[in-house]
């Protein structure tokens, strides 16, 4: 112990590990670590979970289908043809490797200055609110999106070099003309899906209690909730899903992804996203010039299908921590709190009594997130507001399951656009409210840094 951690200070911060409720965690470490149902799930809902998984893995088809009319309706414009295409193994996506590669599990949000419906970002007048590279036959895709990387060397206080790469978005072969100078873009890589039902079950009051938008406690951390449009309730609600907390519920998050990523309408989003300029798209969607298909049209994704997929995403269990009692990990856990990481990556939350699934209610959970928006500095800024999130703000991502990323994903990357190739790189990209914590890591003796990373690897 002394050999590993020479600093008395480090020994002082060794923490008692936070360990999760066994009813909502699973002791798995393999490639399926993010794919198991909650152990507490009752048999009927377990069967529905499996049905939801089938839909999650299903490739949707261009209509009409004689054989599977329940699975047609892809497009007219789309990013991918299945949920799993972006959320492989329910883990993180992968950004393109460079110019010759394409976005597959990463997308680009688009907007122009101003506000749209419900204070949402104002969609681009021609391309809408999301860049859809592909179209069904007869509908031109919107173009090709990729990232080109430039690398610089950052140095820690002890001289250790760390290569950091920054993405440069390239949108080419534009199918509907130039995007124009006003366009704002945001690259979003698919995030991992474990524990989402638990996060949904945290009471709004608890999130509001964590928020400190005016930094009244003077710690420099100003978490705030995003206030977003709840389409089902027709009212504003606290956002908690999406990389900028721009969705209020898992059901809306899923319906939004079906709409934006696959082009499937639902009762929550009954209209296709074709803009007035996308005439072939509108024709394929059955929308004549200047008119909508109508709200009474049968949604391509039925409520039952949406509910099954939502149950699936709601009931994905969290992998249990590994090596939590390891002395090095315990020291790392203490350092994590001591240097301020835990100010945003809140270790412990509690779910409320009335969760969407009874199995989720009243659980003490350890997601390492406060689900709040924080200014992360210019380095991570996308410059694109999203409801009340500014161009510099991102929602604190949960860290549970972080240490299994490499087991689940072929090419593990981190942060909203996959720019970080290791957790240390991700830390070094932190800025804004997280700058003091980042600098503390930069200054750390290497053995302490090793302890911190060992702790992150245990999550």
């Amino acid at each position: 112990m002394r050999r590993v951690l020479p600093l008395a200070a480090a020994l002082l911060v060794a923490a008692t590990p936070v360990l999760a409720d066994e009813a909502v965690t699973v002791p798995v470490q393999g490639r399926d670590a993010f794919s198991r149902p909650l152990p507490a799930l009752d048999p009927v809902r377990r069967a529905a979970f499996h049905a939801g998984r089938s839909l999650f893995q299903q490739v949707w088809t261009v209509g009409p289908s004689e054989v599977r009319p329940d699975l047609d309706g892809l497009g007219p414009l789309f990013n991918r043809q299945s949920c799993i295409a972006c959320h492989a193994k329910n883990g993180r996506g992968e950004p393109p490797e460079g110019e010759s590669d394409s976005m597959r599990s990463t997308l680009v949000r688009l907007s122009v200055p101003g506000s749209g419906v419900g204070m949402a970002p104002q969609p681009h007048p021609v391309y809408g609110d999301q860049f859809n590279p592909d179209g069904i036959p007869g509908v031109p895709g919107e173009g090709r999106a990729t990232l080109v990387w430039s690398e610089r060397i950052d140095r820690l206080a002890d001289g250790t070099p760390v290569a950091l790469r920054r993405p440069d978005l390239r949108l080419g072969n534009l199918g509907y003309g130039p995007l124009g100078p006003e366009v704002m873009t945001s690259v979003r890589m698919a995030p991992p899906l474990v524990g989402l039902g638990l996060l949904e079950a945290v009471p709004e009051a608890d999130l509001l209690a964590l928020a400190d938008p005016d930094d009244r406690d003077g710690d420099g951390v100003r978490g705030r909730v995003n206030l977003v449009w709840d389409a089902a309730r027709g009212a504003y609600a606290i956002g908690r899903f999406g990389l900028k907390a721009n969705q209020p519920s898992l059901r809306q998050q899923n319906a939004g992804a079906f709409d934006g990523d696959l082009g499937l309408t639902s009762t929550l989003f009954p209209q296709h996203g074709c803009t007035a300029a996308q005439t072939a798209c509108r024709a394929a969607a059955g929308e004549g010039p200047g008119e909508d298909a109508g709200d009474d049209a049968r949604p391509e994704l039925s409520d039952e299908q949406l509910d099954l997929v939502t149950l699936y995403t709601r009931a994905l269990a969290v992998p249990a921590r590994r090596n939590a009692d390891d002395p090095l990990v315990r020291v790392g856990e203490g350092l994590f709190a001591a240097i301020g990481c835990a100010a945003c990556h809140t270790p412990t939350l509690r779910t409320g009594p009335s969760a969407a699934l009874p199995e989720l209610a009243g659980r003490t959970i350890h997601p390492f997130t406060d689900l709040l928006l924080h200014d992360m500095g210019e380095g991570l800024a996308d410059g694109r507001p999203d409801f009340q999130a500014t161009g510099r703000q991102w929602r604190t991502p949960p860290l549970w399951g972080l240490g299994l990323t490499a087991a689940v994903t072929d090419r593990p990357t981190y942060l909203h656009d996959g720019r970080a190739r290791t957790p240390l790189e991700a830390i070094l990209w932190h800025g804004g409210e997280a700058e003091p914590a980042r600098e503390a890591v930069r200054r750390m003796p290497s053995l302490n840094r090793k302890a911190l990373l060992a702790f992150l690897d245990s999550l």
């Binding site: 798995v28 470490q29 393999g30 490639r31 399926d32 149902p37 499996h50 049905a51 998984r53 089938s54 893995q57 490739v59 949707w60 088809t61 261009v62 289908s65 004689e66 054989v67 599977r68 892809l74 043809q81 299945s82 799993i84 295409a85 492989a88 193994k89 490797e97 010759s100 590669d101 394409s102 597959r104 592909d134 036959p137 090709r144």
Partner: protein
């Protein structure tokens, strides 16, 4: 005179390059591939192909096989370049309809024969891309814990020790089960195979989703299930403590690839086919989320530890599975499974429970009296009951005649005729089962 398809295709006939997709000229900017493969497989090929062929976008059109056939029957074939899918019956039908261009394949590299089975087109219009075998996924730890032997043969499935531990796919709902049950029926014989299935199914969990069959063993709901192998192999590769058992008499059946007659991007189409049949393309099949068997023997040198090599299978019995015969009867098998098993599982449970009870009583009596057949009369009753319980309303000799009526698993092309036939089956099954139950109960020793 050449058939139309050959006349159209002949000028475009080119050799399938076996050394990657590096055509010596620029490919078209896209290739449209129609498939029903799951996205976990398609994604990896899309990514690998596009990286190997910068500038050529692989566009995937996902269609179930019957929708795909409609698309390929259109004059422009829906703009599709390549058809690449696991649908055994589709390729010969589409070839005969003139949907494909001929391929030239180097048989030194791609033998087209796996486990003694010809898996590619003898006429050269489509080529095997991968093969999958059929067997049993088991939970070795659960079986060891309860001191149960691992099943080794199809016949082992009928053992009473699996009560509540066995999962079977419902033939009418799970795509792979037509081939699976046909392999079993050809291996065991038509009548004996159905009797085996009925006995095994009596206390089994019937599962209506292909992936869920293996999943039932992975998550502990069952200890044994019959399945196509890639679900089990992928579960093993993903770290689940399950194992795969191939019965000695099984088969490895192909998925195939072909270039559409009207392919609008023929060079890119050929590059794609070359890629999926190349060594790197074939090696992708070893990925933990795919785990299907390559059709190139040379890539098995790269196989993960523990991979069975279907070209050199150990423990296999000589078994000439007739793939063509099987294809014709998948629909009939699904209909029979539905009528004989799925619709009557409760009654099968009662019936086979009575037979097993009578057999156990006779065995106990035999042990007590140290004689091999202490009660010939009751033994005969049980034997007769067993025979009637295994009754299948379509005799083996009639299968080929009736199979065309049920050709397509999902269609119902002769609804009235099929309904009348099912009604007749039901009546005869019920009569046989009623008599079997009566005999089994009579065979039980009087208390």
């Amino acid at each position: 005179m050449l058939p139309l398809s050959r006349r159209i295709a002949a000028p475009l006939l080119g050799s399938i390059l076996m050394f990657g997709s590096g055509a010596g000229w620029a490919l078209e900017d896209r290739v449209v591939v129609m498939t029903s493969y799951p996205d976990e497989l398609v994604q990896r090929y899309e990514q690998a192909f596009e990286r190997a062929n910068p500038g050529t976008d692989l566009q995937v059109v996902w269609k179930p096989s019957r929708d795909a056939a409609v698309e390929l029957a259109k004059p422009d074939q829906g703009g599709v370049d390549v058809y690449w899918t696991p649908s055994l019956g589709s390729f010969p039908r589409l070839r005969d309809a003139g949907a494909f261009r001929p391929l030239a394949v180097d048989r030194a590299v791609l033998p087209g024969v796996v486990d003694g089975q010809f898996v590619s087109d003898r006429q050269g219009f489509f080529e095997a891309f991968e093969v999958a075998g059929y067997g049993m996924i088991i939970n070795p730890a659960a079986l060891a814990r309860d001191r149960l032997p691992q099943p080794a043969t199809w016949r082992d499935l009928a053992a009473t020790r699996w009560t509540g531990r066995l999962a079977l796919p419902i033939a009418g709902q799970v795509g792979f089960s037509g081939a699976l049950y046909d392999i079993l029926l050809q291996a065991e014989g038509w009548e004996a195979g159905w009797a085996l299935l009925g006995e095994a199914a009596a206390d089994a969990t019937l599962v209506g989703s292909g992936g869920q069959v293996s999943e039932s063993v992975v998550n502990g709901e069952a200890d044994v299930a019959v399945t196509v192998d890639f679900f089990a192999r992928s579960a093993i590769a993903n770290g689940h403590p399950v194992a795969l058992v191939y019965p000695p008499r099984t088969a490895f059946l192909p998925a195939q690839v072909a270039i559409a007659r009207a392919a609008p991007h023929p060079d890119a189409a050929r590059a794609f086919v070359d890629f999926v049949l190349s060594a790197p393309g074939q090696a992708l099949l070893f990925h933990p989320d795919i785990r299907r068997y390559p059709v190139r023997p040379d890539v098995y040198a790269q196989a993960p530890a523990g991979t069975v090599n279907p070209f050199q299978r150990i423990g296999a019995e000589p078994y000439a599975y007739d793939m063509e015969m099987g294809l014709n009867r998948h629909g009939l098998i699904a209909a029979l499974f539905d009528t004989l098993i799925a619709a009557r599982q409760d009654r099968l449970k009662t019936l086979w429970g009575a037979i097993h009870a009578a057999e156990a009583a006779l065995a106990a009596q035999s042990t007590a009296q140290s004689t091999t057949n202490p009660d010939p009369e009751r033994t005969a009753l049980v034997g007769r009951a067993r025979m009637l319980a295994g009754f299948v309303p379509v005799a083996g000799a009639d299968v080929d005649r009736l199979a065309p009526m049920f050709q397509d698993r999902r269609s119902n092309r002769n609804p009235e005729e099929q309904a009348a036939m099912r009604k007749d089956w039901s009546a005869r099954i019920d009569a046989a089962h009623a008599e079997a139950l009566e005999l089994a109960r009579r065979a039980l020793p009087t208390p």
